[in-house]
């Protein structure tokens, strides 16, 4: 029958109209600056740099390998390598970025930089309030503004961060175990060498030279 659907629809909208006055659960929106909808765990907006510990200058995971800079589709990342190396979380000496800029007015939130980073150093942020009066300087984020602690990362993407931390811890444990094993081997080699010195027949272990430069790679 013609018009039936219109009447049904009008009844539905009337229900919405009156219901929205006494039933707060119906409301689909929140009053933004005062109330916010908490960010969903998989929300992503622009990338940020993760650092461990307290000091961003010391704990930055980024090693300035520049893979993300090359892979970035809109080319919004700009990196300059520092000449000074610093030890990473395992203790290896690594390069570090002197300049790391992201132009968020160009960034398209594709997450490719996160996918390609081998060091878990760049992650997606959920922050979206970048409003500024200065559209050139204000939207070009530098290393200081990009660096955020690992605790922040754990807060915004709990599951993902736990996974990453676990992996890093495992790697670190492996590296430590290896270092310990190396140290032991070295100690053993030293002991053997000492013993060899003591004993008249010096037997040169074939493995000793290979183990000796263990810390470096």
């Amino acid at each position: 029958m013609l018009g039936e659907g219109i009447i049904k629809g009008m009844a539905e909208t009337a229900r919405n109209f009156f219901g929205s006055y006494h039933d707060a659960d119906r409301m689909t929106t929140v009053q933004f600056p005062e109330d916010r909808i908490p960010a969903k765990e998989n929300a992503r907006n622009f990338p940020f740099l993760v650092f461990d510990g307290e000091d961003p200058a010391k704990g930055l995971r980024c090693v300035a390998c520049q893979i993300c800079e090359k892979e970035c589709p809109p080319k919004c990342i700009y990196i300059v390598k520092d000449t000074v190396k610093k030890p990473d979380y395992i203790g290896k000496l690594q390069f570090q970025p002197r300049v790391f800029d992201i132009d968020v007015s160009v960034c398209m939130s594709c997450q490719i930089c996160v996918e390609v980073c081998p060091f878990e150093a760049i992650k997606m942020d959920t922050d979206y309030e970048f409003g500024t009066a200065d559209r050139f300087g204000g939207l070009l984020l530098n290393k200081q503004r990009l660096a955020k602690p690992n605790t922040y990362y754990r807060k915004i993407h709990a599951t993902e961060a736990a996974e990453v931390d676990e992996r890093l811890a495992a790697e670190k444990a492996k590296a430590e175990a290896k270092a310990k094993a190396d140290a032991e081997a070295k100690a053993r080699a030293a002991a053997t060498a000492a013993a060899a010195k003591a004993t008249p027949t010096p037997v040169v272990s074939p493995t000793a030279p290979a183990i000796a430069p263990a810390p470096a790679k």
């Binding site: 013609l2 909208t13 919405n16």
Partner: protein, 409 residues
């Protein structure tokens, strides 16, 4: 002299407020002869512009808040308490924007189009009776005047669409004209039923004919007769289309035509179009109130002491609210559906309604018991039968079935 004029003004205001006849007669004799026509014109025109501009501001706010509530949102609530200053903010924004004229536009016609739209829209207000003795121009052929100025807005829309030199504008204007011409016919036919029964083309006289109550409490409005009810529905549908309101807002369908004939307009000219659109909606709602809802007549016998213009405006706002409600409910039509509805459904229904009104009129002499019931039944069978048959013819023949996909499961 000055005391006379002041006294006259006060007396005039008192006469307006208290529904007494000839308010202007209280003031005019105190003025010099040469000034009288000017003063009486200004006194007629300025309240109309003031009241309806205020109503326009209120309606934009009411519309946005109402639509928000219909969609379970709050609507605008930032500017002023509960957002009541939102229209002022909108107006300021509109007026401070840059006025852009496209380089290839026909400059003169582009400039004249909003004026040519706003002037007839405002003229239409001249013949509506706002209260018991408040009709600016009681023309003998007032209804014809209303439809004549209503018809001349089509050319203004064409001017806007053609002069912009933009395909979206031209398409939107063409759609608007096709739509307005198609829906003018059911609109006028549904008004003609009222003219036929009331025996006059003067809106004031039509309102006067709807005076009194049946059985002491049912108002003698035309909407409470079978033909009047159907006529009112046809009139409302057609007036939705005439004022380009949703669901008949195809001329400015954003998803296909950007904004139709408004695409190339900005700033003050756009504001004028916007204003004219809403003023047109008020005018046509006011005509609907006048023709079918008893104009300024009170709905119940004991309420005569309320000033009559308050009844008129509350009915007008009720109509506008129904327009907003429909806008919040019904999705936009396709062009073929739009024209089919006008020509294959509303037009035959309006003609049958005209016959029904004639039968209702001539059976009024029946005096036997149950005559009223029989008349109602007769009318209901005539109109209801036509409604069912026409509605079935209009509905799509093909049964809609669940869509199946070949390669996706």
């Amino acid at each position: 002299m000055i005391a006379d004029v002041l006294n006259g003004i006060l007396l005039m205001l008192w006469r307006v407020v208290s529904d007494q006849p000839a308010p202007l007669a209280a003031l005019l004799p105190a003025l010099p002869e040469a000034l009288r026509p000017v003063v009486s014109a200004v006194l007629c025109v300025s309240p109309i512009i003031g009241v309806f501009a205020t109503l326009f501001a209120l309606t934009t706010l009411m519309e946005r808040k109402g639509l928000g509530r219909i969609q379970n949102r709050l609507g605008p609530n930032r500017v002023g308490p509960f957002g009541i200053l939102q229209p002022a903010a909108d107006g300021l924004k509109m007026l401070t924007k840059e006025d852009i004229i496209p380089r290839s536009a026909d400059k003169l016609v582009h400039f004249l189009a909003p004026v040519a739209l706003a002037v007839p829209t405002l003229l239409a207000y001249a013949v509506l009776p706002y209260g018991r003795n408040l009709v600016p121009l009681d023309l003998d052929a007032g209804l014809l005047f209303f439809f004549a100025v209503g018809a001349s807005t089509e050319l203004a829309i064409f001017m806007a669409g053609w002069s912009s030199h933009n395909k979206y504008s031209l398409l939107g204007a063409m759609r608007a004209i096709a739509q307005m011409i198609s829906y003018e016919i059911p609109l006028i036919l549904s008004a003609v039923t009222v003219v036929m029964i009331a025996g006059s083309l003067s809106p004031a006289h039509i309102v006067a004919r709807q005076d009194g109550f049946i059985w002491g409490w049912v108002p003698h409005w035309y909407v409470l007769t079978p033909w009047g009810f159907v006529g009112f529905l046809i009139f409302t549908t057609a007036s939705l289309a005439e004022s380009n309101r949703s669901p008949f807002d195809l001329p400015e369908a954003e998803s296909e035509l950007i904004a139709g004939h408004l695409t190339e307009y900005s700033g003050f000219k756009y504001a004028l179009f916007f204003l004219a659109e809403y003023l047109g909606m008020f005018a046509i709602s006011g005509l609907g109130v006048t023709l079918f809802l008893g104009g300024w007549q009170a709905p119940l016998p004991g309420l005569d002491w309320v000033p009559s213009y308050l009844w008129f405006f509350s009915k007008l706002i009720l109509m506008v609210f129904i327009f907003i409600w429909i806008r919040g409910t019904v999705p936009r039509l396709r062009v073929d559906q739009l024209l089919n509805l006008a020509w294959k459904f509303l037009l035959p229904l309006a003609l049958i309604n005209l016959f029904t009104a004639a039968i209702w009129h001539f059976t009024a002499v029946w005096q036997f018991p149950g005559a009223l019931l029989l008349r109602w039944l007769l009318s209901a069978v005539m109109i209801g039968g036509a409604y069912v048959v026409l509605g079935r013819a209009l509905s799509p023949r093909k049964k809609v079935s669940l869509r199946t996909y070949r390669y996706a499961t």
